[in-house]
């Protein structure tokens, strides 16, 4: 327990400190980490799988793995925010395991992109944006899973290159090149799907 009726001390405790406490047996601290990270993890998985239910299952899977493998957490090693890097590493493994099991199934149904269009926009703008979102969804779907992953981490999750490098075990320069190539492939697929209109 970190104290404070208003919970402010709970909020300011770093992720690394909380995970160290979980590792040392204070399992309840995982609740704070869950509250901080489950939404961004859900969006990470939703961008990758396109399925709400699957994404929720994967978030649950990640937190179960964090509990199960808590003894392997070593905060002192990583760059900025090593808990986040470790957690996304676990998330990538969970996604890859899921992907191997489900290989061949149709992916990225429409529910990934619902809410990507503001309901306050005018109807015609809304329609156009929905079409663009749909094209992007299909373009993203056509990318190999590794490229989709680096793009989601970098562009949608706003993870720093250093963090992605720590998660994937490569140099920062390699991450940058991969992001370039993923965007290039996405742009080409988008262009092809739009019938050369872009």
């Amino acid at each position: 327990m970190t104290g404070g009726h208003d919970g402010s001390r709970v909020e300011t405790t770093s992720d690394n400190d909380l995970m160290r406490r979980v590792r040392d047996g204070d399992l309840g601290q995982l609740a704070v980490l869950f509250e901080r990270h489950h939404r961004s993890l859900f969006q990470f998985f939703l961008h990758l799988t396109g399925r709400r239910e699957t994404s929720e299952d994967l978030v649950q899977d990640v937190f179960v793995r964090l509990l199960k493998y808590r003894h392997t957490f070593h905060a002192e090693a990583g760059p900025s925010g090593s808990f986040a890097a470790w957690m996304y590493q676990v998330a990538r493994n969970a996604h890859m395991d899921h992907w191997r099991k489900r290989k061949g199934e149709a992916s990225l149904p429409d529910d990934a992109w619902e809410g990507a269009v503001s309901h306050e926009s005018r109807a015609d703008e809304n329609l156009q944006r929905q079409q663009e979102a749909d094209l992007l969804r299909r373009a993203l779907e056509s990318l190999p899973v590794e490229r989709r992953e680096v793009l989601v981490l970098s562009r949608f999750q706003n993870r720093k290159y250093e963090e992605i490098a720590a998660m994937t075990g490569v140099e920062v320069g390699t991450v940058k090149t991969r992001v370039f190539r993923a965007l290039r492939d996405l742009g080409q697929a988008y262009h092809a799907l739009a019938g050369g209109r872009v």
């Binding site: 327990m1 869950f34 489950h38 961008h47 649950q60 990507a116 290039r184 988008y190 872009v198």
Partner: protein, 277 residues
């Protein structure tokens, strides 16, 4: 600059990062290299399309949070149970007979010895294993943290769930210090926007009503409450706790001309129950 370096730095350039010398080198390479020029156009097209997308607003369902807390709670309790269990040792396994008939006989003998021993040692309280006590405390602390976390959520469903966890903590005060949780429940009674959450918090606090400080705070809260339902619940709690110190607060309710009639009558009845009218 070569094509590899171009690929490495072009996205930073699109983001407006990097120094002017790098920007110039990138532009020079783009002009000179047809492949990189075409690649850069594709990257820019994807970049712009992604930028036009509004903020991604999808959020998980409430079910995810419920599943997580159930799992965490179950995991901690399962861990406590498994540590409590005494592992079989190699010498004990060697003593255990292999034939089912002898196994049944040995089990019956153990049962008889256990019953006789239990009868003989009945008056003595069993010693509490310190490790088990520590684990119980750990589970209690976890519930406490979960309760405090849930009580701060935006969703009323989550806060109701937080009240449930808080109630478990308050009922289990033998292993945890519940002052923090009681404080959070009291804040919920006074400040929560949802009347159902406030009502549930009052019910949970009934388990801690032996605390005179808490009863004083609840009596003060009576005049702040806008919901007659919550006022009725607090009056009942104070009456059941036989708290005569609550009389002034109850009396001032009976004098309030704008107060709900049912609340006023319940306050009068409570004063009669306390014998202070």
């Amino acid at each position: 600059m070569n094509c590899q370096q171009f690929q490495e730095h072009w996205v930073d350039y699109l983001r407006g990062e990097g120094d002017p010398a790098m920007a110039q080198a990138l532009e020079n390479h783009r002009t000179a290299c047809g492949t990189c020029r075409r690649d850069a156009e594709s990257v820019s097209a994807a970049w712009q399309a992604l930028s036009r997308l509004p903020e991604f607003a999808a959020t998980p369902s409430e079910r995810l949070r419920a599943r997580f807390y159930d799992t965490l709670s179950g995991y901690a309790e399962g861990l406590a149970d498994s540590r409590r269990a005494v592992p079989a040792t190699a010498w004990w396994r060697r003593l255990w007979p292999q034939q089912p008939v002898w196994q049944v006989a040995a089990a019956a003998a153990c049962l008889l010895v256990g019953l006789a021993g239990g009868r003989a040692l009945g008056p003595f309280a069993p010693a509490v294993n310190p490790e088990v006590a520590g684990l119980r405390e750990e589970v209690g602390r976890m519930r406490q943290l979960v309760a405090l976390s849930l009580l701060q959520q935006d969703s009323a469903t989550d806060r109701l769930r937080g009240v449930t966890f808080a109630n478990q903590t308050v009922m289990n005060t033998a292993v945890t210090d519940d002052a923090e949780v009681v404080g959070a429940l009291l804040r919920t009674v006074n400040e929560d926007a949802n009347v159902n959450v406030r009502l549930a918090a009052v019910e949970a606090l009934a388990n801690a009503s032996r605390d005179p400080g808490l009863r004083r705070s609840l009596a003060q809260s009576l005049s702040q409450q806008v919901s007659p339902l919550v006022q009725l619940a607090i009056i009942d709690l104070l009456a059941q706790a036989r708290d005569r110190q609550a009389a002034p607060a109850l009396r001032s309710l009976t004098r309030d001309e704008e107060l709900n009639v049912a609340v006023k009558m319940r306050a009068q009845r409570a004063l009669q129950q306390l014998g202070v009218q």
